[in-house]
């Protein structure tokens, strides 16, 4: 098969478009994509199958051996899920995770949206320098900042006798985790949002200014509705990152049973000697349900061409 079998290019316009349509139509490309998807899914499928197998089977044979007797009732069990869900504090850990994750997603997006609008559309001195500094903060590794932040939380900070961060005794509170996640989420959020918001057509914003809108009205009536795709993308990133985070929660929230988040609960499922790892498979799937729900409910906002019809392209 050659390029001549590609759809007639005459009406599709540019060369680039023709090349791309050739690429996506080619059977080899489709085959490779399918192969990658399968390879990528195998571990997850294995995990799913394992989570439904009896403990003895798991310890005796691999998950791929289920296929010959797939329809045998003895192959499957929900005892792992039963065991996980009846564990003390697992439901509580789920709620704790929500209490950590939702504010840790909403706060940075809110701040970043305002900041991104200012960086993109408000003229002020030093805005480029400031933006570069914010984006530069992306390189600060989380692990390096853990101890300084912990000290800030427990004893505040003073510079030349002036208190710049009061001793709020934040350690072990949700606020501590929210602040940490906000701080580390902001540089990427500001960067992503600024690039998107900056690429909205300037004439729309100018038009709104002439129509009588001030910055706040432009932000709420135009920028936010038009930025839904980037807000949704970042929300998914941040949600997944915070949901799956163990380190920050462990350090700032502490290991107290009433404060445990889902990742900590999962870790403890494994038991001290790792001999209950069949429970981990079921626990992992339980903890995956919410991120999956978030992903599928937000992915429809990833629409291109939200600004279609606004300006002549």
């Amino acid at each position: 098969m050659t390029a001549t079998t590609a759809p007639a290019p005459a009406r599709s316009g540019s060369r680039r478009h023709r090349r791309l349509s050739w690429l996506t139509d080619h059977w080899l490309v489709k085959f490779v994509v399918l192969l990658i998807v399968i390879l990528w899914l195998i571990p997850t499928v294995g995990l799913l199958i394992t989570s439904f197998r009896p403990t003895d089977d798991i310890n005796a044979t691999g998950w791929w051996t289920v296929f010959p007797h797939m329809f045998d009732k003895a192959t499957w069990t929900i005892s792992n899920y039963d065991a996980v869900l009846s564990r003390q504090g697992f439901g509580n850990a789920f709620l704790n995770s929500l209490a950590v994750t939702i504010p840790s997603t909403v706060i940075p997006i809110t701040i970043a949206a305002f900041a991104a609008y200012a960086f993109a559309w408000m003229e002020f001195k030093g805005r480029h320098v400031l933006f570069v500094v914010v984006v530069g903060l992306l390189v600060v590794p989380l692990q390096m900042a853990l101890i300084p932040i912990l000290r800030l939380y427990t004893s505040g900070a003073e510079v030349f006798g002036v208190t710049i961060f009061p001793d709020l005794d934040l350690n072990g509170t949700y606020l501590a985790v929210w602040l940490a996640h906000t701080g580390f989420g902001l540089p990427l959020a500001v960067y992503l949002l600024r690039n998107y918001i900056g690429s909205l057509p300037s004439s729309i914003i100018e038009s709104a200014r002439i129509d009588g809108a001030d910055h706040f009205k432009i932000f709420t009536r135009l920028i936010i509705p038009l930025s839904v795709p980037v807000l949704a993308s970042f929300a998914i990133f941040q949600f997944l990152w915070v949901w799956n985070d163990l380190l920050v929660a462990l350090i700032f929230l502490g290991g107290e049973p009433q404060n445990r988040v889902l990742t900590q609960a999962l870790m403890e499922l494994n038991a001290s000697r790792g001999n209950e790892w069949q429970l981990l498979t079921a626990g992992a799937f339980i903890s995956m349900t919410l991120p999956l729900a978030v992903f599928f409910s937000l992915q429809r906002y990833f629409v291109r061409g939200l600004t279609a019809g606004s300006v002549k392209g």
Binding site: P201, E206, A208, R209, D214, L226, L306, S310, V311
Partner: protein, 409 residues
């Protein structure tokens, strides 16, 4: 409804580039003024300064007696129509038009009344519930117009509003725009690079040219369309207005026994007395080099115009273009092209020598299609010498130019 007065208006960008300089212009209440010029001439910048989207570097802008230099756009009570429509993509047509009114906390019933009225005028009533992406280019342009109309502002500012439409729609919308202005009589400043739009829409047309270090002012001439055509102030306006462009050639005048002859290359044409009257002070240029301008429409084939040996050019035809009722005849006149101040600047920028332009000047003439003119053959064209234009080759200015001195004859 208001008068807009620009005084010594100038724009210098932070990097030091000057875009606009010394623009003095009064746009009268209810007037339709068109700013026209090639790209980069600063016409959009002037408009954006009036809108408040660009800061004013020099001079003042008054809208209806109020100095607005430091007034934000929303408080200037103007409406602007953008080249790319700039509709709010997530709002319906109704909401697009109502947006500005809602921001001004207008009564809901009044908003509905105004939007529906404007929609009826623009014939977009059926689309009020649609989003912009479900509209065609022409419909979007109407919505953009509607958004301006409902505001009932002191002035409309339009930045090339028709240039994104296809040719047929553009002509149609042009006519409608003219009709709309006749109805609303709102002061309008309209920016375009299309001289046909400028000539058909404008009560007056301001011709602008890019500023240079030597000549830091944009405004070339402000006049009603016909005056621009018949009484261009300088070579730039003469060359910019009119399509095909005015033929320009270097020549001189000879006086013989009360008659004056224009001589360029092998051609010697008797100049009508009217042309002399329209260029006071022309006698000072007798025998000296000057630039002779002849509109392509001021030629006719000798078989139609009648034999006028003293006003006839005999030329070797290069190409003819038959356009139905008229024919364009293209030929060369063996005289080196006129080097206008702009061309001089351009040549200096590119480091070329005027000599590289060749020693022939392209001419085009528009004649009746009733007689056949074969390409490659010889044509005898009678020139309407009463409509000659004469320019000073040093300054590029029309000889004896007086604003308002215009006669269509």
């Amino acid at each position: 409804m208001a008068e807009i007065v620009l005084e010594s208006l100038g724009k210098i960008y932070p990097d030091g580039t000057r875009a606009v300089g010394d623009v003095n212009l009064t746009i009268e209440d209810g007037e339709f003024l068109v700013l026209v010029g090639p790209s980069g001439c600063g016409k959009s910048t002037v408009l954006r300064m009036v809108a408040g989207l660009e800061e004013v570097s020099e001079g003042t802008i008054h809208i209806g007696d109020v100095l607005v230099n430091d007034v934000p756009p929303k408080d200037r009570d103007i409406a602007m129509v953008f080249q790319n429509y700039a509709l709010y993509p997530h709002m319906s047509v109704f909401d697009n038009m109502a947006f500005g009114l809602r921001l001004r906390k207008m009564d809901k019933e009044e908003i509905r009344r105004r939007v529906e009225e404007a929609a009826a005028v623009l014939e977009i009533t059926d689309f009020l519930g649609r989003k912009p992406k479900a509209l065609s280019g022409g419909q979007r342009q109407r919505v953009a117009m509607g958004r301006a109309i409902v505001r009932e502002p002191k002035a409309f500012l339009m930045d090339e509003p028709l240039s994104n439409l296809d040719a047929k729609l553009r002509v149609q919308m042009r006519t409608e725009l003219g009709r709309l202005h006749g109805r609303l009589k709102t002061t309008t400043v309209y920016v375009t690079h299309d001289q046909v739009e400028a000539m058909t829409l404008g009560h007056r047309v301001a011709v602008l040219k890019a500023v240079t270090a030597k000549r830091p002012d944009n405004l070339q001439q402000v006049a009603p369309p016909s005056e621009l055509f018949y009484n261009p102030a300088n070579l730039f306006v003469a060359g910019f207005i009119g399509s095909p462009a005015m033929n320009m050639v270097t020549g001189h005048l000879e006086g013989t026994g009360g008659e004056v002859f224009a001589v360029f290359g092998p051609h010697r044409l008797r100049v009508d007395a009217k042309a002399l009257q329209r260029h006071p002070g022309l006698e000072k240029f007798m025998g000296r080099d000057l630039v002779i301008g002849i509109r392509p429409g001021d030629f006719e084939d000798h078989r139609i115009a009648g034999e006028e040996p003293e006003r006839t050019m005999e030329v070797k035809v290069d190409v003819t273009e038959v356009l139905g009722s008229e024919t364009f005849v293209h030929y060369m006149v063996p005289v080196a092209p006129v080097v206008t101040p702009e061309i001089e600047e351009l040549l200096a920028d590119t480091g070329s020598d005027p000599a590289t332009l060749g020693d022939e000047t392209k001419f085009s003439s528009r004649v009746s299609s009733d007689v056949a003119i074969p390409a490659g053959g010889t044509a005898r064209l009678v020139v309407e010498t009463a409509k000659f234009h004469f320019f000073d080759p040093e300054t590029g200015q029309r000889i004896g130019y007086r604003p308002g001195a215009f006669s269509a004859a």
